[in-house]
Symmetry: C2
Subunit: 190 residues, 2 copies
């Protein structure tokens, strides 16, 4: 697929078919993640591929608990209409785990390093584009408690669960969300 | 260009030709940035396109000061061999500015929201891939002091300069940096 078609066509999906993801496709998607840039090429990411039904149920419960917390904390009423049941239905979840020791020079900043997180985000974007090019849809899901997710996935305290990337075939057409024109977002200093 | 060719072919460039970036290409690159996902589609980024020579000199001075700081702080000797003169030579710098108020539910986390930064990182990755597909090279540059960069670029205190994306034609062949096989980075929970 043409790069610009992938960038323009990718959409966030919240309704998946149960169809499995082909192993060869999954491997291409994970490999695309590894070609992201990272500070000092430290490759600050680790991936956990979850297909196990029991685990996905646990992840759903945790996310739903976190959703309840977010509704109370934010006061955003629309959040109570937002359901996370797709976490049980989606055939594959890729947990993206960041390693804070792989943050390059950023490590020495007063507020601590975050560059490892940016590298992980770039890897997620590569995986989203790759998935779309192979006929799948994705969702960059982050509504979870990091410590709870460490427990569910067996992630040590010194690593950080950053994203649960939902991956599968979309159950229907996904409407495009609009974007502001780049000109509204850009200042030129000539 | 094929998506996977872009993902595999993109390399971090530290030596640029003075050739300008075509306006139409620059627009395609910026637009590619805007198609990144963001929390609640808040489009957490702003872009500042810098071509002004005086400003690029100032940015160079600031980055060089930050490099000196990083050498002292880290004790990494190789950093003194790493020069940032390419900041003067590169024809275009795109400063990516994040808006912390556009972080979605993440805003309510105890440690504060970082999702706006992840969205900006995804936008940077889109721009890097788009630039590469159009025959340019890029560098995801972050060795600067945020407050100093606010002053140089006129960014208000409530927004965060996250990345200076260097953009231009590469001055020669860029060697590929190796990646660990995705299998070394992945755990499967079936």
């Amino acid at each position: 697929m043409d790069l610009f078609d992938a960038i323009r066509g990718r959409r966030s999906c919240r309704s998946f078919l149960p169809d499995p993801v082909k192993e060869a496709d999954l491997e291409k998607i994970l490999e695309a993640g590894t070609w992201a840039p990272s500070p000092l090429n430290a490759q600050s990411w680790e991936f956990i591929v979850i297909t196990n039904q029991g685990l996905r149920e646990k992840i759903f419960s945790e996310a739903d608990r976190c959703r309840q917390w977010a509704i109370e904390k934010s006061g955003w009423k629309w959040l109570s209409r937002y359901q996370v049941d797709f976490l049980k239905a989606v055939p594959v979840l890729i947990a993206v785990i960041g390693d804070p020791t792989k943050s390059g020079v950023d490590t020495f900043q007063e507020e601590g390093g975050v560059a490892y997180q940016h590298a992980c985000a770039a890897a997620v974007q590569n995986m989203q584009l790759a998935a779309y090019a192979l006929g799948y849809s994705t969702l960059w899901f982050t509504l979870f408690d990091k410590n709870a997710m460490r427990t569910v996935l067996g992630v040590p305290q010194n690593k950080v669960p950053l994203v649960l990337l939902c991956l599968g075939k979309p159950s229907g057409e996904i409407p495009q969300t609009a974007r502001k024109d780049f000109k509204e977002k850009t200042t030129f200093l000539r």
